[in-house]
């Protein structure tokens, strides 16, 4: 009996009902030599000890949005003042449970997305399709390696990680059922667990699509792509995609390319769907804007057909499109939108139903068919109006003014607007002076959620009024976004690893998330420009990346056009859509691995401990809004990366905020000196909401400080922190002295001044001859300082139990 050895299932003659499956045939040279760490495929309590370390220091803070619970039939229960409900749960624990549920939903979103992509791509390309992220990426799935303990080489390998993640979701969600956890700390631990899973899921999704769709592979110099209303050629049929999963809309590109008709259409879109369309099309797809542009785009009447997939899409999309006569093709099984399933219909029948308006939309979960139907529909609709789309929010000025004149300044809109925008004042001003400028100004801040229209007793089309008031600016907006590059190269990590860990690169600022900005969108650029100029590494993704591509300066240029795309000091790297956030976490992990040679495999706590103490990376989400964003942030937190959120982030109800004054909580084991040493409170928060851009800037600089900074690194970090505090807060920060370990940490230019302050205000002893600090710091700087807060890590490197 002989058989050839390939992977697959084999039937053997004469042996009924026996199948021989040949497992992975692995080249010896490629064998993964790394030893398995302590926690591969961790269950929901395996990393509880690590979480409790974090939670002990970064105490959960709860700001209840509702102080009651009505999830079970014994309720509703009043939980105010931390009272207990019928099941015995108190308010804090109830909030922690809700946070856990939200993180589960967030992780499930990326997971549903990843699973669908993966199954689809494996069906198309086979399990053996190799994971090749280009020559510069050898550590190609740092999160999966660290968490799951495997090294995926093929799409099929990703399934193993996927199945583990699915299992963990069920177990964590289980814990949120009535009558499980009693302590909010345990719910936080579970929220962290599922959020770590979320990072694995994002990595699966993005790796799968990069390799299968040949998206840019860790390329810093990816092309720029057009953004804004102004870049759409309205003389072509316009196909608009919205959502997150490129698998449904990519076939449109494929089909048009095959037909040689790409140039006959405009393909544009919103949110991550188009983000990733630009990655597969090399910049051919165009970006209307972030998630908050949905009603702007639909009510502008520009789309000739709309393609929706999943997540963050308006739940009234069909209604909104229908009102404008735009046919809708819903594609994802997560959002069938109540539409008839047209999977089995012939293409002509679908096109006909949509073009005649017989149906306002169809549910078409067959990507290839979407590829054919969408252009046909767009073309037919385009033919009807001949490029002369009449509707531009209002048919004419009279209609606009009729709406404005209806307003009685009852302020119902103001009291329901997420930003309490003073629509009443804009309307009143316009009524009195015929000047639309106050209304136009609102457009810069409006997220076009439409709640104002729901509240208006006069049924004023407020969104349209606002958009029409800023019509020319909005319609002519043009910008450039650098297409998502995907992972960070190993070589880049090698270059920046040391300066980051030592502190000479003052920090990595990762601006990610949604578009619920508290202020005009341009504030995002203002914040990040500060860090680009100061040669921090700035990374971005998702709607933040899109927004950055839409804000131009006086020269008409976006930040992308002025900044290289490297993961390097002074660079601005756009990694891609939401799921590409995994590359940011991955970069932090790769610093520990590639630069510091820490083993990854199943070794989460050590890596997170390394990141917390050494990698000065801070997440920043200026406009977070969704459970996905909550999961992403919480996943970063577990990895030891602090996250700063805009003020709306306070509505997530829970933050992780340390207290500088609890001195007993700020310590590490120092492996070098074999001792437990007090440390400066750095970073002193894992999740904190700021109110203004000024505050955001200072907090970001502040939270980049790490115990492991060298003197030079600390000096650089403090220089920026102090300068920014002076610039934006008007003086030195209150806590700068806590971060001074020796005179070498002090910013050079201010050294004398600061030494004087340390002496006079803080009572430190200074040797003025040598300009040395004699007494005062929490601890002295030690070049060999080797901090950890994990007993097992201490033991591993010190060879003995940690000191008490």
């Amino acid at each position: 009996m002989a058989f050839e050895l390939r992977e697959g299932i084999f039937a053997i003659d004469e042996m009924r009902n026996v199948s021989i499956r040949i497992g992975k045939v692995i080249e010896e040279a490629e064998e993964w030599a790394e030893e398995m760490g302590p926690t591969p495929k961790p269950g929901i309590i395996e990393l509880r000890k690590w979480d409790m370390k974090l939670l002990e220091r970064y105490e959960p803070f709860y700001a209840p949005v509702q102080d009651f619970c009505n999830l079970c039939t014994m309720g509703p229960c009043d939980l105010s003042q931390n009272k207990k409900g019928a099941c015995g749960i108190d308010l804090k624990t109830a909030k922690a449970r809700l946070v856990t549920i939200a993180c589960c939903i967030g992780a499930a979103s990326h997971g549903g997305h990843a699973r669908h992509l993966l199954d689809h791509l494996i069906e198309e390309l086979g399990e053996d399709y190799p994971i090749d992220l280009g020559g510069n990426v050898n550590v190609e799935a740092p999160i999966i390696r660290t968490v799951v303990g495997i090294r995926p080489r093929t799409l099929g390998d990703l399934k193993e990680a996927m199945e583990w993640a699915e299992k963990e979701l069920m177990r964590v969600l289980h814990a949120t059922h009535i009558g499980n956890e009693e302590s909010y700390l345990d719910y936080e631990s579970k929220a962290m667990h599922i959020s770590m899973v979320d990072h694995v899921l994002m990595e699966i999704a993005d790796i799968a699509q990069i390799v299968a769709y040949n998206m840019p592979k860790a390329e810093p110099n990816v092309p720029l792509t057009d953004t804004g209303f102004g870049i759409v050629d309205k003389n072509k049929p316009v196909i608009v995609v919205v959502g997150h999963n490129v698998l449904y809309s990519k076939p449109i590109l494929d089909y048009l390319e095959e037909m040689g008709r790409l140039d006959d259409f405009e393909i544009a879109g919103l949110c991550c769907a188009v983000h990733d369309m630009t990655r597969v099309s090399g910049g051919r797809a165009k970006i209307f804007g972030p998630i908050s542009y949905q009603l702007r785009v639909i009510r502008s009447g520009i789309p000739d057909v709309m393609i929706s997939d999943e997540q963050c899409i308006r739940a009234d999309l069909l209604q909104a499109c229908k009102a404008m006569g735009i046919p809708l093709i819903a594609t994802s099984d997560a959002a069938a939108r109540g539409l008839p399933d047209a999977s089995d219909w012939p293409v002509e029948k679908i096109v006909n139903a949509l073009v005649t308006g017989e149906l306002p939309g169809v549910f078409l979960p067959v990507p290839e068919k979407v590829g054919q139907v969408a252009p046909l529909v767009a073309e037919a609709i385009f033919k009807k109006h001949g490029g002369n789309r009449k509707y531009r929010f209002f048919a004419n000025d009279e209609e606009l003014w009729n709406e404005i004149n209806k307003c009685t300044q009852c302020m119902n809109c103001v009291f329901t607007c997420p930003h309490n925008l003073r629509i009443d004042q804009g309307m009143a001003h316009a009524q009195k002076t015929k000047d639309l400028s106050k209304l136009a100004k609102l457009e810069e801040q409006c997220i076009a959620c439409g709640k104002c229209e729901q509240a208006c007793p006069k049924n004023i089309k407020i969104i349209n009024v606002i958009m029409a008031s800023n019509f020319d600016r909005l319609y002519n907006k043009k910008g450039k976004m650098r297409v998502g590059r995907g992972p960070i190269q190993d070589t880049e990590i090698r270059n920046v690893g040391q300066p980051i860990v030592m502190g000479q690169i003052p920090g990595v600022i990762a601006a990610v998330g949604c578009a619920n900005y508290p202020d005009e969108a341009k504030s995002l650029r203002e914040i990040l420009e500060e860090f680009v100029k100061r040669r921090y590494i700035v990374v971005t993704s998702g709607c933040h990346a899109i927004t950055l591509g839409m804000i131009t300066d006086e020269e008409g240029q976006t930040l992308y056009e002025k900044t290289p795309g490297d993961f390097d000091a002074g660079g601005l790297a756009n990694v891609g859509s939401c799921v590409a956030n995994s590359h940011i976490a991955g970069a932090a992990i790769k610093i520990a691995n590639i630069f510091a040679m820490r083993p990854l495999r199943g070794n989460y706590a050590e890596i997170a401990d390394y990141v917390l103490n050494r990698v000065g990376a801070v997440g920043f989400s200026w406009g977070p809004y969704s459970p996905k964003a909550a999961a992403i942030a919480t996943g970063f937190n577990r990895l030891g990366v602090p996250v700063v959120v805009g003020p709306h982030g306070a509505k997530y109800r829970r933050a992780y905020l340390g207290k500088y004054f609890k001195k007993e909580k700020w310590w590490v084991y120092d492996i070098k000196t074999r001792s437990k040493v007090p440390i400066e409170p750095a970073p002193d928060a894992l999740l904190v909401a700021v109110e203004t851009k000024e505050e955001a800037i200072v907090q970001l600089a502040r939270l980049c400080i790490r115990p492991n900074d060298t003197s030079l690194g600390r000096q650089i970090k403090l220089t920026h922190y102090l300068e920014l505090s002076q610039k934006y807060l008007g003086k030195l920060p209150d806590d700068w002295h806590l971060f001074v370990r020796s005179e070498a940490d002090l910013p050079l230019k201010m050294k004398d001044e600061l030494l004087h302050i340390l002496e006079s205000e803080y009572g430190w002893k200074i040797d003025w001859d040598k300009k040395k600090i004699l007494e005062g710091p929490i601890r002295r700087y030690d070049a060999g300082f080797n901090p950890t807060i994990v007993e097992e890590v201490y033991e591993k490197y010190a060879g003995e139990k940690p000191p008490q």
């Binding site: 700001a63 939980l79 207290k659 909401a689």
Partner: protein, 181 residues
């Protein structure tokens, strides 16, 4: 003491219609009540927010509070205009989020080391951000919170009524407080 309908004051309308809780809503108060609260307080403090960067009048009022001996915790960048006018805030770098976390801790000694504050006045915040912080303080502390805001803040212990339609009244109420301290 509380603002009544028959008064000249507008009704207390939540800044966000759906920001509802079971627990008590703030008592809408007139300036004199706030004056009395401050006078009775052992360790009062005013926390200023980022909206001072957009409203010079609030800066002016905060300066007056300071001059009357009320210490200031400046957040959101509000320290900058305050410092320019001679105020020395107790803290400038901590966010309201962090300050609230500190306030929730009974062991905290305050930024001045004199123990936790018993009366906290809030002025110049984004309403939704402040609302969450007031909710935390309502449910998990005994601190008396007073919102001196244009929008009525339901989760404070005491709040100005809703003054969004009449900014002059808002300013004059603030003036009335500082003038009577």
């Amino acid at each position: 003491m509380a603002v009544k309908k028959e008064d000249k004051y507008p009704v207390a309308r939540r800044y966000q219609i759906a920001d509802v809780q079971v627990s008590r809503e703030a008592t809408a108060v007139k300036p004199q009540v706030v004056v009395n609260l401050i006078k009775k307080a052992k360790h009062p403090v005013l926390i200023t927010g980022g909206q001072l960067l957009k409203d010079e009048k609030l800066v002016e009022i905060a300066v007056k509070f300071y001059e009357k001996g009320i210490p200031i915790i400046a957040t959101g960048g509000s320290s900058k205009p305050l410092i320019e006018k001679g105020v020395n805030p107790q803290s400038v770098v901590f966010t309201l989020h962090q300050v609230t976390q500190f306030l929730l801790d009974e062991e905290w000694k305050g930024f001045d080391g004199k123990g936790n504050y018993d009366l906290v006045l809030f002025m110049g915040f984004l309403p939704y951000y402040l609302s969450r912080m007031l909710s935390a303080l309502k449910h998990f502390s005994k601190i008396t919170t007073v919102a001196l805001e244009e929008f009525y803040q339901p989760h404070a212990k005491f709040s100005f009524t809703n003054l969004t339609a009449n900014k002059d009244m808002y300013y004059s109420m603030l003036e009335e407080i500082v003038n009577n301290l």
